[in-house]
């Protein structure tokens, strides 16, 4: 479904150039949840921005459902880390979710119905008339997820989506993601620096090296579903996988 081949990105030119991505190969199949782990500043965000079509890669190409990505793909949604800046503070929660749906050719009523449904799904029913800044951080991120859900994307990109919330909220949001993803059979590419989170959420974990980022290794995650914050995390398989991912991340640290 998502096919990234030899993706390379360099900022600037000459001796001051910064090589963010050094040839990344990555495949995500339909319905899969893939977590990309790497240390901060390794080019994870550049990878995500390239797939989203926000920046042009220097080399390599990206295909979504066998269509080459040039410009912004139509059936792709992004949940950014910084919810307070990715939600528009001048629009209500409902309008924030409804605004992108114009592109789907829905009329006003349909848009607002879709927004209300999406809010219900993330456990925020009745919050449509509020403004984002009236909600707590975790709730704002739920709104961002609701906006992505309502958009019905073929591929959902998430950039450190739970990086700015407290630990308890983070677990709630992780389980929320697993639930809605199960329900919609969505394909998700999630970027994180948290090894535990990548193992807990992913069907597969891809580890990147530090910049210029390459794929250091891939691990399939075979943990029973549905996952549980306590039970899953104490499984020997979870502990083992976490150590494996940790070793890959370490290896790259020593090298860099």
């Amino acid at each position: 479904m998502l096919d990234v081949v030899n993706l390379t990105h360099t900022y600037g030119q000459g001796p001051t150039a910064h090589h963010a991505l050094g040839g990344i190969d990555l495949k995500v199949s339909e319905g899969e949840l893939v977590c990309v782990v790497g240390p901060s500043g390794c080019g994870k965000s550049t990878l995500l921005r390239s797939i989203a079509g926000l920046i042009q890669p220097t080399e390599g190409h990206i295909r979504i459902r066998d269509t080459a990505v040039t410009g912004i793909p139509g059936d792709l949604a992004v949940v950014f880390q910084d919810y307070s800046r990715s939600l528009f503070p001048w629009l209500t929660v409902g309008d924030n979710i409804a605004l992108p749906l114009r592109r789907r050719g829905m009329d006003r009523q349909a848009r607002h119905r879709a927004a209300a449904e999406a809010l219900q799904e993330v456990g925020l029913d009745g919050a449509a008339a509020k403004y984002p800044w009236e909600l707590s951080g975790g709730m704002q991120q739920r709104v961002a997820i609701a906006r992505a859900l309502a958009y019905r994307p073929a591929l959902l990109l998430m950039d450190e989506p739970f990086g700015s919330v407290d630990a308890q909220t983070r677990e709630d949001l992780e389980d929320l993601l697993l639930k809605v993803r199960e329900h919609h059979r969505m394909t998700v590419l999630l970027i994180t620096h948290d090894i535990d989170e990548s193992v807990y959420l992913g069907d597969r974990v891809v580890v990147l090296t530090s910049a210029p980022a390459r794929v250091a290794g891939e691990l399939p995650v075979r943990l029973p579903s549905p996952r549980d914050q306590i039970a899953t995390r104490e499984l020997p398989a979870f502990v083992h996988l976490r150590a494996e991912v940790g070793r890959l991340v370490r290896a790259k640290d020593r090298r860099g």
Binding site: P89, Y131, W133
Partner: protein, 286 residues
Amino acid sequence: MSLTEAPARPGPAAPAPRRLRRARGTLWALAARVWLVPIALVAWEIATRRADTVYFPPPSQIAARMHEVWLSGPVSRLFLTDEALGTFGPSLGRLFGGWLLACVLGITLGIAAGRSRTLADYIDPIIEFCRAIPPSALIPLFIVLFKTGTQMQVATIVYGVIWPILINTIDGARYVDRLHTDTAQVFGVRGAQRLLRVVLPSAAPKIFAGLRLSLSLAVVLMVVSELVGSSDGVGYQLIYTQQTFDMSAMWGAIVVLGILGYLLNSSFLLAERHILSWHRRARQTT
């Protein structure tokens, strides 16, 4: 996690004693702020009575004269006299006419130049040069082009007040948060939607700052243009009372200008707080 997590709103009415205490506190705060005003007024009254010169009539006399000239009309017209309507009507008309025209022109051009680096590069030096010209320097030109009258005055106001609007709009539209534009782009919000729902609201706080500044500038330019060439309005009133040596009425006109400026500024602030409440409150909570 549920909706109960929402940040605490001011609860229902506070218990009576606390409300009373708060009211008393507000009164004290108000008194601490305005106590100098009556004292200054009384001191001025005493000083002018002592000095007894025609040029400095006491405030009581100014107030009486203002009342007589402008506020002794029929109840049905809020006590305004013909004279008041004939003076303030044209002045306010020019003021708002020129200001609104400048708003439309400034915001339109500002959004265009703010969103297009290329356009901004081409017109930047022209803007810098034009806004360095004192607007009053154009009055002699406008007099030749438009003769004296409303056209000349509106032209002066528009030219004088457009720069803060234009510069602030360019600034606001240029520095829209990267994540806002990225989000809009990813979710396919473009064209008019993007302009109206993303760029304009995001630039609004800056635009409003420019609008407020330009409104107070408009008062100044209204007076200047009326002083130079007009047969009605507050500026003309100033000249006329000077020539007829009606000192109290002249001071009255000056006082009116102070009140007008104060009222315009505070009502604009009020409207701004209302319209941009999301901006203020989003700032407070993050």
